[in-house]
């Protein structure tokens, strides 16, 4: 079976700085893959080239079709949705509207049809409504009921993260890219997040690529961990193998670095 997402010799530079360097990578259907790497390794840049925000050299194929040269809204329309590390919700729209807005690409009614509430517009509105409630319902009581009509800016940090995931799912995603979903969360919340990600895959049958700063609680549920450094993949494999890989330890500690305490963040959660 061909992989769902395939990166082939992807490179990107900003001025003289090489952010991605002939990167090869692939993600199979229904896998959960984690990308880790030190600061500046190119993790978020990787997401930005996949979702079309930056145009790289090389080729990126999703489900056999090339994503190069397509604008972000088309790429998301093809089934690759993402969240942002620095939350980018539509803060002044309500929780439900945030999710509904992401269904734009899946609906077709023209403004005229909407203004006159012609049959297609009405049918689509009903579908969108149902879709929004379905996606938000996945998160249990946290984003339900009275929350529907609250503006997003009143939500707590963790709920904003959840809403971002809900919004990404509402696009009809087959593949979900999560940019540091655990950032700013405390240990119990991280545990809950692990269950959430596992649940997402079961419920929506979605492939997940997620970024982490270092190996952590949620790495446990990953099928594959990919380690990035200086825009290159330096290691790839099962979580347990990666945490023992000497190249990875060097990447985190620097070549001349000592051992011991500094290695701990990388291995945290796996002991």
């Amino acid at each position: 079976m061909a992989p769902l997402l395939e990166l082939d010799q992807v490179s990107l530079s900003f001025g003289g700085l090489r952010a991605l360097h002939s990167l090869d990578m692939h993600v199979d259907e229904n896998e959960i893959v984690s990308v880790i790497g030190p600061n500046g390794a190119g993790k978020t840049t990787l997401f930005n080239v996949i979702t079309g925000i930056y145009q790289p050299a090389g080729d990126i194929r999703f489900d056999g079709k090339s994503l190069i040269g397509r604008s972000p809204h088309r790429i998301t329309g093809m089934g690759v949705a993402r969240t942002f590390q620095s939350l980018r919700l539509f803060l002044n729209m309500t929780v439900k509207e945030n999710v509904k807005a992401a269904t734009y690409g899946g609906t077709r009614a023209t403004p005229i049809e909407s203004m006159l509430r012609l049959p297609r517009a009405r049918r689509e509105e009903r579908e969108v409504e149902a879709r929004a409630e379905d996606v938000l319902g996945f998160f249990g009581q946290r984003l339900q009921g009275y929350r529907f009509d609250q503006p997003a800016y009143v939500l707590s940090y963790a709920n904003r993260r959840r809403l971002e995931i809900a919004r990404a799912m509402a696009t009809g995603a087959r593949m979900l890219l999560l940019d540091e979903p655990a950032a700013g969360m405390n240990p119990p919340e991280k545990l809950a997040l692990r269950e959430l990600i596992r649940g997402l895959r079961e419920r929506f049958d979605v492939t997940i690529l997620l970024i982490e700063h270092h190996m952590d609680v949620e790495s446990e549920l990953c099928d594959i961990v990919t380690v990035l450094d200086n825009g290159k993949v330096i290691a790839e494999g099962k979580p347990a193998e990666i945490s023992r890989d000497p190249k990875v330890i060097v990447a985190y500690l620097g070549s001349g670095g000592g051992a011991g305490e500094a290695a701990e963040p990388l291995l945290a959660g796996l002991e």
Binding site: T44, N48, I53, F84, S86
Partner: protein, 319 residues
């Protein structure tokens, strides 16, 4: 051939028109540059398009006019002319500077953390109030500095049929001195350093002990004072003033700031000159009616090709 002589005479006449147009363009350009600098500085520190800035220039022109009247009027001055000009510039500079600070304190400071549109709308409101207050106080008719009465055209420099009036020299010299003064101020002094700090990150600057309020007030003072002096000089050079000259001048100066790259001081100077020259050449070679349209078209074209202007830095976007 006999035609050679006639041709060379025609050529000289053309050269004269060319040089005269060039001089007018440089003079206008210097004035635009002075106004543009204020625009640019305020935009730099507050990210605010201060639409009222052009009206400050208008107020400066009025202060200069009343200074002339105070000293007996253009035809019967009771003090020496150089003294009058220095007095006009100093009073207009200080007065308009103070007005700028008052406006900042009263209208813009409460809006530092408001949505972006709020100070912009306030600026439109201030512009309305300034224009109409002058209309209320002094009437809507056009006044004339009548500068040739005390600075006669006779005192021009004549070079080969081209006349450069002393006022034009004053305008260029004062503008250049002020621009270089400003550049030194921004690059060399502590105030300049804090201004640049506030421009790049207000909160960080505040945390590092920069007195942000004072820096912004100072920026408004300097920017407004330069607009005030520009108002006086434009009255001297072009004569006619009224309560509505501010809007168009502000708009053109703003074009200058944008063409040069908003937030950049040399950009504002060069932008001003470009707009001034463009205006004077299009009105003497194409059509005076279309000169404003040509300037507007130039702006729109610049913005489309290079939105950040010729000298501006493209904004960074963090994803």
């Amino acid at each position: 051939m006999g035609g050679g002589g006639a041709f060379s005479v025609a050529c000289t006449a053309q050269m004269q028109i060319f040089i005269q147009t060039l001089v007018t363009g440089i003079v206008t350009g210097c004035l635009y540059a002075l106004i543009a600098l204020g625009y640019s500085m305020v935009y730099g520190v507050l990210k605010l398009l201060n639409f009222a800035h052009g009206d400050l220039y208008m107020v400066g022109a009025f202060i200069g006019y009343f200074a002339i009247q105070w000293f007996g009027g253009a035809t019967a001055l009771i003090i020496p002319v150089p003294l009058l000009i220095i007095f006009m510039m100093v009073v207009a500079g200080l007065g308009v500077g103070a007005l700028g600070v008052a406006i900042e304190r009263f209208a813009y400071r409460p809006l530092r953390n408001a949505p972006r549109i709020a100070p912009l709308i306030t600026a439109l409101g201030i512009s309305f109030i300034l224009e109409d207050s002058v209309l209320l106080l002094f009437g809507g008719f056009t006044r004339n500095y009548n500068a040739p009465a005390f600075l006669p055209f006779r005192q021009s420099i004549h070079i080969d049929g081209v006349n450069i009036w002393s006022v034009q020299i004053i305008v260029v010299v004062v503008s250049v001195v002020m621009m270089f003064g400003l550049r030194e101020l921004v690059n060399r002094t502590l105030f300049g350093k804090s201004m640049r700090a506030v421009a790049s990150d207000r909160e960080a600057a505040e945390m590092l002990g920069v007195n942000v309020d004072r820096t912004i007030a100072m920026t408004f003072f300097i920017g407004s004072a330069m607009a005030g002096v520009a108002g006086v000089m434009s009255g001297l050079a072009f004569g006619q003033i009224s309560n509505i000259i501010g809007f168009l001048a502000g708009l053109k100066a703003f074009t200058a700031a944008v063409v040069g790259g908003i937030g950049s001081i040399p950009g504002a100077m060069i932008g001003g000159l470009v707009i001034g020259l463009c205006e004077s050449f299009s009105s003497s070679y194409i059509s005076s009616q279309y000169s404003d349209l040509i300037v507007f078209a130039l702006l729109i074209a610049t913005m489309l090709v290079r939105p950040q202007g010729v000298f501006g830095q493209p904004p960074l976007q963090k994803v």
